[in-house]
């Protein structure tokens, strides 16, 4: 096996709102090709951590490195050029509601590539086909179901073939079968494009099925209390809270 190549390195990160500290002393590394799970109970700051990683919210202290670049100390231009390599799937999908699915996916392509209109249309068709929405180009987000919105948003997140895909609770609000299909899709993407994937979730089925690395945020300790392969964490839980979380609190 080749040496792990760090894609995201987080050091001594502290986050909070105003004077309220949500989490402190977060230190972990996401390697290329990882399916990295950020897990923890509701309200522990998973989504906030994700926002810090993608550049939507500034941490109160500590560093986030994307490659070798200290993300939050870098200039806005540098940050934007790094962000261009991200794809992000929001909890609600966050498709731009005034545009059709095709326009949603085309926008990043128009922004950052020199492709012509015809070529963009072809790429859009491919991305929609990859998520099982071929033929839905001219639908507006309000005209499709929740699961379809998630998949369309995934197609948009993949538009520029990102190096890292971030997911905020991808399976929230999906039925078990759709959730499973989304998991399969995520694994497929990693296998075929070697995309690094960071997922915020508390769906245990997904965590064990797709995660190969993780960090556990403990809402009581206000810091991370475990990290590593979730299946190994289940086999040998480092502390009772992790055990409780990974076994749904069953005795």
């Amino acid at each position: 096996m080749s040496m792990p190549e760090p894609v995201i390195t987080v050091r001594d990160l502290e986050m909070g709102y105003g004077s309220f500290v949500l989490m402190r002393d977060l230190t972990f590394t996401v390697n290329r090709g990882d399916v990295f799970i950020i897990m923890g109970g509701s309200g522990c700051g998973k989504s906030t951590l994700l926002k810090i990683l993608v550049g939507l919210k500034q941490p109160s202290r500590g560093q986030v490195f994307h490659g070798d670049v200290n993300f939050w100390d870098a200039d806005v231009e540098v940050r934007e050029s790094i962000q261009r390599r991200f794809g992000m799937l929001y909890q609600s999908g966050a498709l731009w509601s005034s545009m059709t699915l095709a326009e949603n996916i085309a926008l990043p392509l128009e922004q950052y590539t020199k492709l012509g209109t015809g070529q963009i249309r072809e790429v859009v068709a491919l991305k929609l086909a990859l998520v099982g929405l071929a033929g839905f180009e001219d639908f507006y987000p309000s005209e499709i179901s929740g699961g379809m919105k998630k998949r369309a948003a995934l197609a948009r997140a993949m538009a520029l073939d990102p190096d890292i895909l971030f997911f905020d609770e991808p399976s929230a609000g999906l039925d078990p079968v759709s959730a499973r299909l989304l998991d399969d899709l995520i694994l497929e993407l990693r296998a075929s494009l070697n995309t690094t994937i960071v997922i915020v979730t508390h769906e245990l089925a997904s965590i064990f099925a797709i995660g190969n690395n993780s960090v556990f945020l403990d809402v009581e300790a206000r810091t991370m209390t475990a990290s590593g392969d979730p299946n190994k964490l289940l086999a040998a839980p480092p502390n009772p809270n992790v055990h409780k979380f990974l076994t749904r609190g069953e005795k």
């Binding site: 550049g55 992000m88 731009w96 990043p108």
Partner: protein, 384 residues
């Protein structure tokens, strides 16, 4: 039973008896449903307190016919009081379901500090937090204006990103679609000015000057103000609500993570649309206002139509017209900036969107009136 003291009736559904030396039995019977109303726990608690020493409380079902959350709410208060007072409670003689729900409700203790402090904050902290929020809002406004200026500069260099189709749609939305309401309002304002003027001028037999009054008032300032206020209420509220909803749906976050500036993508087209359309609407409103005055002058005062138009032409200068257009251009910029700013500042809930729309209209109208005062003063100084 010989050890029992005499029972005290409280609510007819509750009886409290003493067992042995220091144990109280609270006996419940009858219907315990929410729609029957809940007995107050105060008499029960008073009983417990007055019958010291109490070293144990037994809750007992002696013929409860039906129960729902009503019973639970009552019991939880009693149990909470007892546990605070350090009195052990035995609930074995309650129905199975009640016991389980009682245990469930008390399984997770209330998180300390999670409940919001009620009551008034002391004066100084209130002043402090007000000052901080004013400071934050000022900083946001300055940030926003700066970003918009940078975006505008990028637009002039041809580097700004937004969709041309969005701009066309917005031009239509705040241009041609606003024509009916602008027509109606300006025509009526022209009529009103004509009426009011006519009544005064009639006293001096100078009716013909109605044409001057209407023309100058409409073209110099009223046309612009009326269009400005219409656009603030109509378009400004819409802008704030659109952008606010995008904020709620994380659509703005999605733009940011894609490295697309929301200011360029959302604010610029709206700003351009209003910059282009406001002066046009204003010129149109001027015309409609003059028409309103014409109707009063010719129809009510019997002025010769040609004479009326001639007076209007005499009264108006190109400077007056330009001043009017300048007003409307400034108002266009103000309405666009105020409403987009309020939209961008919108919180993450449905009521925040409503508040954003309201604030957009209020800010726009205040800005319009203040700007009018400033421009009028400057024109005075410049002798225009």
């Amino acid at each position: 039973m010989s050890t029992r003291e005499q029972s005290v009736p409280l609510d007819s559904r509750i009886r409290i008896d003493r067992y042995g030396g220091d144990t109280l039995a609270i006996r419940l019977s009858g219907d315990w449903k929410l729609d029957q109303g809940l007995p107050s726990t105060a008499p029960v608690i008073r009983e417990i307190e007055s019958r010291q020493p109490v070293r144990g409380v037994i809750l007992e079902d002696v013929g409860i016919r039906g129960w729902d959350s009503g019973l639970l709410t009552f019991l939880i208060k009693v149990v909470d009081f007892c546990s605070t007072a350090g009195i052990p409670v035995t609930a074995d003689a309650l129905p199975e379901g009640v016991r389980r729900l009682l245990a469930l409700a008390r399984a997770v203790p209330a998180r300390a500090g999670a409940r919001k402090e009620s009551g008034r904050e002391p004066f100084l902290p209130r002043v402090g937090s007000q000052a901080l929020s004013v400071w934050r809002s000022t900083r946001e406004t300055v940030d926003f204006l700066g970003e918009t200026a940078i975006a505008f500069a990028r637009l002039l260099r041809g580097k700004a990103t937004f969709r041309r189709s969005d701009l066309s749609l917005l031009l239509q939305e705040c241009g041609s679609k606003a024509l009916p309401i602008v027509s109606l309002i300006s025509l009526l304002v022209g009529l009103i000015l004509g009426f009011v003027g006519a009544i005064q001028l009639r006293m001096f037999g100078a009716e013909v000057f109605v044409a001057d009054i209407v023309a100058i008032a409409m073209v110099r300032v009223m046309g612009a103000i009326m269009t400005g206020i219409i656009m603030a209420g109509r378009t400004g509220a819409a802008f704030a609500a659109q952008i606010g909803t995008m904020q709620v749906n994380e659509e703005i976050d999605a733009l940011k993570t894609m490295g697309i500036s929301p200011v360029e993508f959302l604010v610029l087209p709206r700003l351009i649309a209003l910059i282009i359309m406001m002066p046009l609407l204003c010129a149109y409103a001027d015309l409609m206002g003059i028409l309103g005055g014409f109707v009063v002058g010719v129809g009510m005062l019997g002025i010769n139509p040609v004479e009326y138009l001639h007076r209007t032409q005499e009264a108006l200068t190109l400077t007056t017209f330009w001043i009017g257009l300048f007003h409307s251009l400034v108002f266009g910029v103000l309405v666009a900036l105020a409403s987009c700013l309020r939209g961008m500042q919108c919180g993450r809930s449905a009521s925040d969107v409503g508040a954003a729309a309201t604030r957009a209209v209020v800010t726009s109208i205040v800005a319009i009136i203040v700007a009018t005062a400033i421009i009028t003063f400057l024109c005075e100084v410049l002798g225009l």
